[in-house]
């Protein structure tokens, strides 16, 4: 290993999208024959950094060097030619074509101008055998499991002269055996001197396979560490960071939650991404959910609110068994969900503030009983005032609003139907500090008025501040539920980060 000269070196890279800076003067390097991990929460700049290295986008500033040569990639194709191959999370292959074609398409062997299918199958089989993969090269890719598709994607990547292999969340849909298989391949490639960038939100896996870790937060470099020298808890702390807060501490409910009747209680709720979750939420209680990205926090929220239908488990609402087969049903019972993806799952971007606020209420009343425009405006104005939404012109299309104001519009929409339980999925993500504190305070006020709230956030301080109790999620399971008073950030962080014991 040539310690002196990195194989990949990105210096002072900056990427802007309009007004937001996705990557701010970040340095990044990788050595030949190492497995390197890139860590950070949502919006830390991980995917932007990957895109900058793999030619998907060109940085606004900064230089990229590969094996000592300064390069600029105009396209992913350029990057591939320079030896940088990428395997994306949502596998970018062609399920309708054969495995062999997926490995070799674009470089397929030809005879007299026509594709020599037999030769191609043989060549593909060799490459696959290198990876220990004995599948029929002529079979269509789509019939294979995701794990195998992932390995086929890697086969394609290494069938060229690959120097750098970027694996973006390669294990998110693999089971334990499949992960082991993938790791075997990664180690083999490492032996060959390939530099591997392994991006994953599974800490266990990062610690198992990676030599070195680079941590990003809010588009900035936090630091680069040797895995062996970085404690897990320190890593989590570096990823999540800390910040000062202007949060108004609210009076906690005096009575212990156990003494209260639970408004909603869920037992053994499972769906894709969450398994066997037990949740109790009392009236007027805020339940914080803490967990890393991919720990199942969104899956839990969606399973509790009818957005995804749970595969098993029961949900009781005020002691009555309830089946949420659609968000509509849940809404009618006062259980509402605010998605973390405001743009794609929350707002109707082209519509005005009034229409967005009135949408859920209108949907509940049905298409034929229109809320009179004057009533809708009155409603919207009262919420605009109550939540201090800006601009106050309620005819503005919501896509022109800032993130914080968009979030408030979503809240107003849900609050307008007088819900009993509000499930907020990362309501403060990507919004400025002022708006963040406003929303935190608002959640407190709503709880004081008897509304139950589930509050999901990637920021542990926030979860602790807002939540009366905190449920800690790890790898799709609730590992502990504790009162916020009994936790501090450090102990919560330890719970969030602690590895599971290896399963039998």
């Amino acid at each position: 290993m040539d310690e002196a000269r990195p194989l990949v070196e990105l210096t002072d890279a900056t990427v802007r999208f309009g007004a937001t800076v996705a990557l701010d003067g970040v340095d990044f390097r990788m050595f030949a024959g190492e497995v390197h991990s890139l860590m950070g929460e949502n919006g830390a700049g991980k995917s932007t950094l990957i895109k900058a290295i793999t030619g998907v986008l060109a940085p606004d500033a900064g230089t990229l060097t590969i094996a000592g040569d300064r390069v600029t990639f105009a396209s992913p194709h350029d990057a591939q030619d320079a030896g940088v191959s990428t395997v994306y999370q949502e596998i970018d292959l062609l399920p309708n074509l054969s495995v062999a074609e997926n490995v070799l398409l674009g470089r397929e062997p030809r005879r007299l101008g026509l594709i020599a299918h037999r030769t191609m199958r043989e060549r593909a089989a060799e490459i696959l055998a290198d990876l220990g993969l004995a599948i029929d090269p002529a079979s269509p890719l789509g019939i294979h499991s995701l794990a195998i598709q992932q390995l086929v994607a890697i086969a394609r990547a290494i069938s060229t002269d690959v120097k750098v292999l970027v694996l973006d969340e390669p294990t998110s849909s693999l089971d334990l055996d499949e992960v082991a298989e993938l790791f075997r391949v990664i180690r083999e490639l490492k032996q060959r001197g390939v530099a591997i960038l392994f991006v994953s939100h599974f800490l266990d896996q990062v610690y198992e396979i990676c030599d070195r870790i680079t941590v990003l937060r809010d588009g900035r470099l936090v630091g680069e560490y040797l895995t062996t020298e970085l404690l897990r808890i320190d890593l989590v702390q570096k990823m999540l960071g800390r910040e000062v807060s202007f949060f108004k501490a609210r009076e906690r409910i005096e009575a212990a939650p156990e003494e209260q009747e639970a408004f909603l209680s869920a037992r053994g709720v499972s769906s894709a991404g969450i398994a066997g979750a037990d949740v109790d939420i009392a009236e007027g209680e805020v339940l914080g959910i803490a967990g890393l990205l991919g720990s199942g926090r969104t899956a839990l929220a969606r399973a509790l609110t009818g957005v995804d239908r749970p595969t098993s488990g029961i949900i009781r609402l005020e002691q009555r068994d309830t089946r949420f087969d659609s968000p509509r049903k849940a809404l009618s019972l006062g259980v509402v969900y605010s998605s973390e993806n405001r743009r794609t799952e929350g707002l109707v971007g082209e519509m005005s503030i009034v229409q967005n606020i009135a949408l859920a209420l209108q949907a509940q009343k049905g298409a034929l009983r229109r809320i009179a425009p004057a009533r809708a405006r009155e409603l919207a104005l009262s919420w605009v005032e109550a939540l201090d939404i800006r601009p106050a012109d309620i005819d503005t299309p919501v896509r022109h609003l800032s993130g914080g104001n968009q979030q408030k519009v979503m809240l107003a929409r849900l609050l307008a139907i007088s819900p009993r339980l509000l499930v907020l999925d990362e309501p403060t993500r990507g919004i400025d500090v002022g708006a963040k504190v406003e929303i935190q305070n608002l959640v407190g006020e709503m709880a004081d008025n008897g509304l139950s709230v589930v509050f999901i956030s990637a920021e542990l301080e926030e979860v602790l501040r807002v939540g009366d109790r905190v449920a800690i999620l790890r790898d799709g399971r609730i590992v502990e539920t504790a009162a916020s008073a009994d936790l501090d950030v450090d102990s919560l962080m330890a719970l969030v980060a602690r590895p599971d014991l290896p399963e039998a």
């Binding site: 309009g18 659609s326 009618s332 929350g346 109707v348 082209e350 949907a363 298409a367 009983r369």
Partner: protein, 355 residues
């Protein structure tokens, strides 16, 4: 300036220009004469002849707003015309208003069922709208031919002639039919929340679902409406030619309707729709058709002109042409200081790019 920015400005300007060119080229185009208390003239003809297209385009507007498309409208027209005329033909008295109204009622009911069928395929089975409505587009005409036994059923019926060319007060009856449809649909969409929820489903289906909107029902309603309106259009078309011609009825009308909707400023990507825009769009198509006739071009050749219009319209809406336009605009803006480009427009457009 605000007038320029109104979403209906350009569609309306296109229509007015088209009419103006006609009037200048041929002053008789604008002539409207009053005979026996009834108005006649080229402009009145446009109002009368646009009835079938107007009805079909109205339904198409709502379907397109849900991100869908209904290719089967022409076939539904053929079926409803065939049903109505076969009933009238079979009945004893073709001149009885009762018979004709009953026949029309049944024809429209059949059209409603066909629309519901489309809606079922799209909203419940989740089949792509283009493909789902293709089935009926193909089979519908066959069914219409079966109803008429493969012949062109001709009927002489005074109530039907009235629908085709009669006058109510001083204007053609057919004009009042489409006007009534426009008013009713406009009222239903805008006086209930149907229009708003339809737009929400068209703009962001997932967000609408999470907000508790019954998108399945809304999409279904759109196809039923489209079917019913196509059914009425089919009856009017049959009345116009006094015959049920399963092959010619509504031939290519789906395409003209889509063109009219797009000309009226409703995007094919779904979402915000404008009924007034569609009215303008249909009148534009109809005026263009009249213009072509006026120029002495055989009607069969008119598709060439429409092809050109379609190409221009899609090019104007194409992102690439927008980019060229912006490039051109910024070049002029920097070198010549051309005051025509409002400075406000720039940040807005940038946002679009980011999005």
């Amino acid at each position: 300036m605000t007038l320029l920015k109104h979403r209906l400005f350009w569609p309306a300007a296109a229509l007015v220009t088209l009419l103006a060119v006609n009037m200048i080229a041929n002053p008789s185009f604008a002539r409207i004469s009053l005979r026996d208390g009834q108005l006649y003239g080229a402009l009145i003809d446009i109002l009368r002849q646009s009835a079938p297209l107007m009805l079909v385009a109205l339904g198409m507007t709502i379907v397109i707003a849900t991100r869908g498309i209904d290719l089967s409208v022409g076939a539904i027209m053929a079926v409803s015309g065939a049903v109505a005329l076969t009933i009238i033909d079979g009945a004893g008295d073709a001149n009885s208003w009762g018979t004709v109204m009953l026949a029309i009622g049944i024809a429209v009911l059949v059209a409603l069922v066909l629309g519901a069928w489309n809606g079922l395929l799209v909203s419940v089975l989740g089949i792509q709208p283009i493909i789902a409505t293709l089935v009926l587009m193909l089979a519908g005409r066959g069914a219409a031919l079966l109803i008429t036994d493969g012949f062109i059923t001709t009927v002489n019926s005074s109530p039907l002639s009235y629908i085709a060319s009669g006058y109510l007060l001083i204007l053609p009856f057919a004009f009042f039919v489409w006007l009534a449809a426009v008013v009713v649909v406009g009222l239903v969409e805008r006086r209930t929340a149907l229009g708003m929820l339809t737009e929400a489903v068209g703009i962001n289906p997932e967000a609408s679902r999470l907000a508790g909107v019954r998108s399945r029902g809304i999409i279904w309603t759109a196809y039923i409406l489209s079917g019913v309106l196509a059914g009425i259009a089919g009856v009017i078309y049959a009345a116009n030619i006094k015959a049920a011609d399963a092959n010619a009825a509504g031939y290519l009308i789906e395409l003209y309707a889509i063109l009219a909707v797009v000309l009226g400023g409703t995007s094919l990507m779904g979402g915000k729709f404008s009924i007034a825009g569609t009215v303008i769009g249909v009148l534009t198509v109809q005026a263009l058709e009249s213009t072509i006739l006026f120029l002495g071009v055989p009607p069969a050749q008119s598709p060439v002109f429409f092809a050109v219009v379609v190409v221009i319209v899609v090019l104007v809406q194409s992102p690439r042409v927008h980019r060229w336009g912006r490039l051109l605009g910024s070049r002029f803006g920097s070198s010549g200081g051309d005051g025509k480009m409002p400075p406000v427009a720039t940040p807005e457009k940038q946002k679009e790019v980011v999005r």
